[in-house]
Amino acid sequence: MTRSIRRIGLVLMVLFLALLANVTFIQVFQADNYRGRADNQRVLLEEYERERGPILTGPEAVALSEKTKGKYRWLRVYPEGEQNAAVTGFYSMVYGATGLERTENDVLSGSSDLFFVDRVQQLVAGRQPRGGAVTTTIDPVAQAVAWEGLRGTRGAVYAIEPSTGRTLVQVQSPSFDPNILSSHDPQSIREYYEQLLDDPEQPLINRPIVALNPPGSTFKLVTAAAALSSGRFTMDSVLPGPAEYDLPLSSRTLRNWTGEDCAPGGEITLEQALAVSCNTAFAWLGNELGPDALRAQAELFGFDTKFETPLRASTSRFPEDPDEPQTAMSAIGQFDVRATALQMAMVAAGIGNNGVVMQPYLVQEIRAPDLSILRTFEPQEFEVALSSENARQMQLMMMAVVDNGTAGILQGIYDAEGNLVRVGAKTGTAQTGRDGEQPVSWMVAMAPATNPKIAVAVVVEDGGQAELSGGAIAGPIARAVIEAALQ
C-alpha cells in the first residue's frame, strides 16, 4: 500500500500548494485591489490609527490630532477652524482632504520618503508610524486680524512678505468649519458638506487664490509699470485726463468716477493720475502702450502663470486679443481682466521688492515626528518685473495714493518702535458685468513702501458702490493687517 499512500500524499501536496498559491495571490497580487475597495473599513481605520502630524503657524498648531476613545483612534481638530480653513483645508473620511491636508498628506500621514529612516526604525521596533509636521509661513496675528476684518463680507485677503514670497495671510469669507468635516460622524459630515455646496456664496472655494475678480483700478499699477517700462513715460509725464474719454471705434465714452476732469485743465501727471485713479488718463495710456505691452507687463507680475503654493491657484489673465476700446477698458482693470487676491498681492510685492517678484509659497518647513527639521523651503525668484529705478518710481507713486489720493485711510500707521510708516497703496472698484451684483472693492498695499515687510491685497466682492469704497471697505481691513504685521 506504500505506493498508493505516497500517491495520496502527492494529491494532498497539490491541494496544499493550491492553498499556498491562493494565499500568496490574495496577499500580494490582489491586496491593493482589495484595499482600494470603497467598503473596506480597514483602510480608513488604519488611517485613523496613526497620529497625523500637525500643521503649525509659528509655534501654534492650526490642525492637530487628538486621541479619542472611539472606533477611530485619532480625531483631527482645528482650533481656529474657519479662520484658517483656506490654508488647512479639511481631512474628511467621506470627502477626502483639501488644502494643505491634501497637498502635504505624505508628510502629515508619515508616508513621505523623507521619513525613510523613521520608517525603518518603526518597522524594526514595530511602532505605529506617526506623521510629520508642516510649518506654514502664515503670520498668525495678521491672519487673525484679517479674519476679524473680513467676517460677514464675501471676500478674501492675501498677504506676502515681498522679499521672500512667503505667504503671511490667506483668509476667506465666508469660510467653513473644518472640524465638522473632519469629524468621525459621516452623517453630520454629509449634511454639513451638502449645506456648504448649496450655499450661493461658495464657502468651499479657496477664495484668496481661486476666486477671479476684475481687478479694477488696482490694475492701473500694471498699466503704470508698463508705461515706465516702455521708456516713454516717467512718473512726471503729463497725460490727458479729461472728464470723458471717447472709446475709439465706438460711440461709447468712458467717464471718470467723479464725472469731472482729473485735474484742472484736463491734464495730469502720471503720479497724480494714479493717486486720484484717473480712468481717462489710464484708458488713453493703455491704447498708447497697446495690449501686448500691457500683457507682457502683467505676465512679468505673474498673470497667465499657474501657481502652486503648494495650494493650486487660479490663473489670473489679461484678455487675448482686445481691440482698442477693450484695451482701454483692460488698462483700468475692466473688460476681461481677471485676477486673484494672490495675484494683486504679488503686484504690490514686486513693486515693493524693487521690481523682483518672488515665487509665493506657504510651507516653510517639514519636520519629522520628533519635530527635527527635515526640509526648509528657500525663497525663489519668479521674474524681474521692473528695473529698480522704475520700481522706485512706482513706490513713490503708490505712496502718493496714500498721502494725497484715494487710500488716505492708510495714513498714520506706526511700527513697533513708534515710527510713522510710509505706506504705498492702490484702491480699486470693479464692475463684475453681471446684473444686480455689487461692484468688487479692492485695496492693494505694501508697507513700509520702500522696503516692505508686507504686501497685502484685500478684495471684498460685495463692497458697495463708489470708487471710494475700495478705500472705505477694503481699506480698514488692509490697515489692520498691515498694523498687525508691523508689530
Binding site: M1, T2, R3, S4, I5, R6, R7, I8, G9, V11, L12, M13, L15, F16, A18, L19, L20, N22, V23, T24, I26, Q27, V28, Q30, A31, D32, N33, Y34, R35, R37, D39, N40, Q41, R42, V43, L45, E46, E49, K69, G70, K71, G126, Q128
Partner: protein, 466 residues
Amino acid sequence: MSTTEQSTKQRTRRNLELVLIVIAWGIGVLGTLQVGWATEEGIHPRFWITAGVVGLLALITHLIVRWRVPYADPFMLPIATLLTILGLVMIYRLDVAAIQRAARLDNPAPTPDVYNQLIWYGVASLLFILVLLTIRDHRILQRYTYTAGLLGVILLLLPLAPGIGATVNGATLWVRIAGFTFQPAEAAKILLTIFFAGYLVVTRDSLALVRTRVLGVPLPRARDLGPILIVWAVSLGVLVFQRDLGTSLLFFGLFVGMLYIATQRWSWLVLGFLLFAVGSVGAYLLFGHVRTRVQIWLDPFAYADTGGYQIVQSLYGFANGGLFGTGLGRGHPELVPFANTDFITAALGEELGLTGALGIVLLYGILIERGLRTAVAVRDPFGQLLAAGLSITLGIQVFVIIGGVTRLIPLTGLTTPFLSYGGSSLVANWVIIALLLVISHRARRPVGVSNPQGSSAEFATQVVRR
C-alpha cells in the same frame, strides 16, 4: 520499511521534540506580550500563570510521550502544540478586541474565550495522555471495527435527534446535553477512520477484484459497490439534513482516499469523484442553501452586505496583512464575523501576513507528511490505513476550511484543526495526534524491542476476532 538494518541504534529524538516545544511556548509568550503591548492593554496580571499552565501541559504531554512512545515521530507533538498555542494567542487577541469594543460602547465587558480554550487544551491533553496510556498497540483498535463504525454513524447523525440536536448558524452540527454543547462529528471522524481502516483491511482484496472494463476503465464488481454507496448516501444526508458541506466532504473524501489506498485501484477514485460530482450537482440544483454558497463563492462582492460579508471581510483581512502582516494586535481581525472559529486563519493572515499564513499552512503540511510517513513506515496494513486515514482527515479539513476562507473553494463550516476556538475539535485533533504517535512509535521502534515479525495478512487474521 527497512528498519531492520538500523537495529537497536534507532534514536528516539525526544530531546529535539522538547526543544521544539520550548520554542513553541516561547513564540506564544512573545506573541501574547506583543498583543498586550500593541493593543495598549498591557500584560494581564494572570498572564504568567496562564503561560505557566500552557507550558506545564506541553511539558507533561512531552514527558508522557517520552515514557510511553519514546520512538514516536518528534515533530508531530511540537507542531500540534505550536498550532494550539497560536490559536490561544489569537483567541486572546480577539478577546482584547471585543473587550475594547465593549468599553467604547459602554457595554459590560464580554467573557473572554481564551480561558475556556485553555481548559479545553487541558481536556485535550488529558485525552491525549489517556490514549497513550491505554493503547499500547494500535492493532487493538481493529477489534472494535464495527463498534467504532456503528458509534461513528450514530454520533454523526446525533444532531438530528430531536431534543438534543442544536442548530448554530444554519448548520445542525451540535448536540446539547446538560448545558454542554459539542460537535459529535469531531469524534465521529476518528471512529469512522478506525472503522474504514478495519473494514478495508478485511475486504480490500475483494474490493480490488476487477471483473469488467468500461472504455478501458477497470470497474469493481457491482456487489462491492455497496459500501461506497452507503457512505455516499450518509454524506449526502449530512449535507442535506445538517446543512453542512464541509463535514459531508470530509467523510466522503476520507472514505474514497482510504479505499484507494487499500485497493490501489484508481478506478475507485474515479468512481468516488463521479459520485461526488453527481451529489454536488444534485445538491446545487435541489437545495437553496447550497446554491447560495456557490453564488457567494463565485462573486462574494455582489453579496458583500449579506451572505458574502464574512468572506469579503476575510479577504480584506488577508489583503490588509500583506507580506508581513500588521503585527499582532495591530490589525482589525475582529471585523470578520466568527474570527476565532471558522475565520481564525484570516485573523492570523491579517496580523502575521503572508509570511505567517504560509508558515501555518506549511506546519499543517509537515504534520500531515509526518502522518503519511508513519503510514508508510508501519508494518501492519491496519496501522497503515489508520495512520493514512487520520492524516487524510487532517489534510482534507485544513484544505476545506483554509480554502474556504481564502475563496479557493466555496466556504463551508469546518473548524481549523488546533487553531479554532472550540472544545470538540481541539480534543478530537489531539486524540488523532496521540493515535499517530502510537502508530509511529511502533513503526520506528528498533526491531529487537518489538513483537516477532509476521506477514501483514497474518496480522489481520490474528488480531481480528469475529
